[in-house]
């Protein structure tokens, strides 16, 4: 019980606490007037909010589309298409996130929405691929046993295929979220805001205090999310 609390609340709070202390210190003790102007609570909260929206919206969409798409591609009638899509997805994942954002900027222009859209598309890839691979990897004899006992195809999907593929789907989600947090920090380059804003501003005005605060916040968000999903992952599989 104590351990659970410590793992799920204790450690995250410590991480947040350290970064929060750093921000409070920096805002209250600016090294000069530029830092004073550029690093305010208001601004910090604004970029956090933007960052959270970027993540939340793009990941929600990507999860829905990725899982549904992966399920659809794993159906026997679409199976061959699934293999093709898998190859395309693998190539798509090789393309660096900054290139994706830059290309979307040339097509759709600047702004938060464009950034969300690019992140959304980019995050679909690992989720889609892992959902497909996870379902595809379920031993066929298991499916056949279920069919032979008279289970409905839909029940086989929800009771057998998805639960067995679940750890792999979660792993895809974890990959997607790590990539997404990283790419979200780049959204600022195409006017999408987010935590990258502080870093880029700091680099532009050459003020280490701003850079450090921005980088610490970005690192915190990524490490924290990865940590929490990793811990959740450990609990997912009790059967192997």
């Amino acid at each position: 019980m104590f351990r659970t609390l410590w793992v799920w609340i204790g450690i995250p709070l410590i991480m947040i606490g350290i970064v929060a202390a750093m921000i409070i210190y920096s805002v209250n003790n600016p090294t000069d007037s530029i830092v004073e102007r550029m690093l305010t609570y208001e601004r910090v909260f604004r970029v956090i909010r933007q960052h959270a929206s970027l993540l939340l919206i793009s990941m929600t969409g990507a999860t829905i589309v990725g899982v549904l798409g992966g399920i659809m591609l794993s159906r026997p009638s679409l199976y061959r298409a699934g293999r093709v899509v898998e190859t395309i997805v693998n190539i798509g994942q090789t393309v660096p996130s900054i290139a994706i954002l830059a290309l979307f900027y040339t097509i759709l222009g600047m702004g938060f929405r464009v950034a969300v859209f690019a992140l959304f598309l980019y995050s679909i890839l690992p989720i889609l691929r892992n959902t497909f691979a996870g379902i595809d990897g379920v031993d066929y004899s298991i499916i056949e046993a279920a069919r032979g006992m008279g289970m409905h195809p839909l029940r086989i999907l929800t009771k057998i295929e998805l639960p067995i593929a679940f750890p792999i789907i979660v792993a895809g989600f974890r990959t997607a979220i790590v990539i997404n947090v990283g790419a979200a920090t780049l959204a600022t380059f195409i006017g999408g805001g987010g935590l990258g804003d502080l870093i880029v501003t700091g680099l532009a005005v050459r003020r280490e205090m701003i850079i450090l605060n921005g980088a610490a916040l970005a690192a915190l968000s990524a490490i924290l999310l990865d940590y929490l999903i990793g811990k959740a992952e450990e609990r997912v599989v009790k059967w192997s």
């Binding site: 298991i142 056949e144 046993a145 279920a146 069919r147 289970m151 409905h152 059967w239």
Partner: protein, 370 residues
């Protein structure tokens, strides 16, 4: 109960049929064993019966009803199916695995629980110990038991069992076979049982259907098959040592009536009695039972020399292996060979001593036959 007419399966992209014009009739309560080399179409035949594969041609009648007219889901829910690869669901506990069909049929929870526990006892898995385990924590033999229990739990009148004892060592396999026969005696289901092992086929079946390259070669009772193989292929399959194979067909209690052997001694027998019987008996061993006629042990000449005691019960030594009276003669033979002695004591289910058979008795059976 099951009637197969001209059943044929050609897989897409193949020209040679995997199963060709198969005709078969299985009576209610019978165990029909499909036997044949691997790849001869046994699994394909089974899967056509429960419509996992759609037949290319021919008909299957279940209780006189064309099975293509029955909803496949309903059909399968009423046919227990043990898949060759076992196919346990790795993310479900043993309990949940066995409860699959009841859950599909939306049984009330109490009834499911009762039935699952009953089945676990039936296949020899203690629910207390096993119900919350996952399949990965089981041995091969235990998994196969779960597979059988899962197929039987809703009491389907028909069972399809595809090499259900394939993945276990010979000793466990023999034990599972005997358990199966005991269960079947009570349940009287109509069973199609697949194996590639002719000995298993002879032991388990009421009728044997020999298949080769997709075709049915011969469908007969085991003893007819052994005495009159239809062709070279069947003769080769049953092997040259057919008379020895008959040992699979005969149960111990059947020959026990015929052998005439001295009565066992009770544990309070005097030394002179023991000595006398040692000399008279063709076993060169004395069987000792207790007052309830339970087997107590045996006395050999060396026991008599080494340890002297007042009564036989004091110096008899325990026997490590016995056979039950419903075991086959072949089982008896293996025990003798394993223990390196020329006899084996027979007990019934309650461990009451029934008699003793010797290697000589077995030889007589084989000789009579040929």
């Amino acid at each position: 109960m099951i009637k197969v007419e001209g059943l044929t399966k050609v897989f897409p992209g193949q020209t040679i049929p995997a199963v060709k014009d198969l005709n078969l009739e299985i009576k209610e309560g019978d165990v029909c064993v499909l036997v044949g080399p691997s790849g001869c179409g046994k699994t394909t035949t089974m899967k056509m019966i429960n419509r996992l594969y759609e037949p290319t041609g021919g008909k299957v009648y279940i209780r006189g009803e064309d099975h293509m007219k029955i909803d496949p889901i309903k059909l399968r829910l009423d046919i227990g199916y043990v898949i060759q690869e076992i196919g346990l669901f790795p993310h479900m506990t043993i309990y949940e695995n066995i409860a699959t069909v009841p859950n599909e049929k939306k049984w009330p929870r109490e009834k499911t629980k009762e039935k699952v526990e009953e089945l676990m006892h039936l296949v020899g898995l203690d629910p207390e110990i096993f119900q919350n385990r996952y399949p990965t924590a089981l041995s091969g033999g235990q998994r196969q038991r779960v597979g059988v229990a899962r197929a039987m739990v809703s009491d389907p009148p028909i069972m399809l069992m595809d090499e259900p004892f394939g993945a276990v060592d010979p000793i466990t396999r023999a034990r599972l076979q005997n358990e199966f026969l005991r269960i079947q005696e009570r349940m009287s289901k109509t069973i199609v049982f697949v194996t590639h092992d002719i000995d298993e086929a002879i032991k388990m079946s009421d009728t044997i259907a020999v298949m080769n390259e997709g075709e049915l070669i011969q469908h007969d009772t085991p003893s007819d098959l052994l005495s009159a193989p239809a062709d070279e292929f069947v003769a080769n399959l049953v092997g040259r040592h057919r008379s020895i194979k008959r040992l699979h067909l005969i149960r111990v209690h059947e020959i026990l009536k015929e052998v005439d052997r001295t009565e066992p001694l009770t544990e309070d027998a005097k030394k002179e009695e023991v000595e006398k019987q040692l000399e008279d008996s063709d076993l060169r061993t004395v069987i000792v039972v207790d007052r309830d006629n339970k087997l107590k042990g045996v006395i050999g000449a060396s026991d008599l020399k080494r340890k002297a005691g007042e009564v036989a019960g004091d110096y008899c030594h325990e026997v490590s292996d016995t056979v039950t009276d419903d075991a086959t003669l072949n089982d008896a033979l293996s025990v003798m060979l394993e223990c390196g002695v020329g006899y084996v004591a027979v007990v019934n289910e309650d461990e009451m001593y029934q008699g003793t058979i010797t290697l000589g008795d077995l030889l007589n059976v084989v000789r009579e036959d040929s």
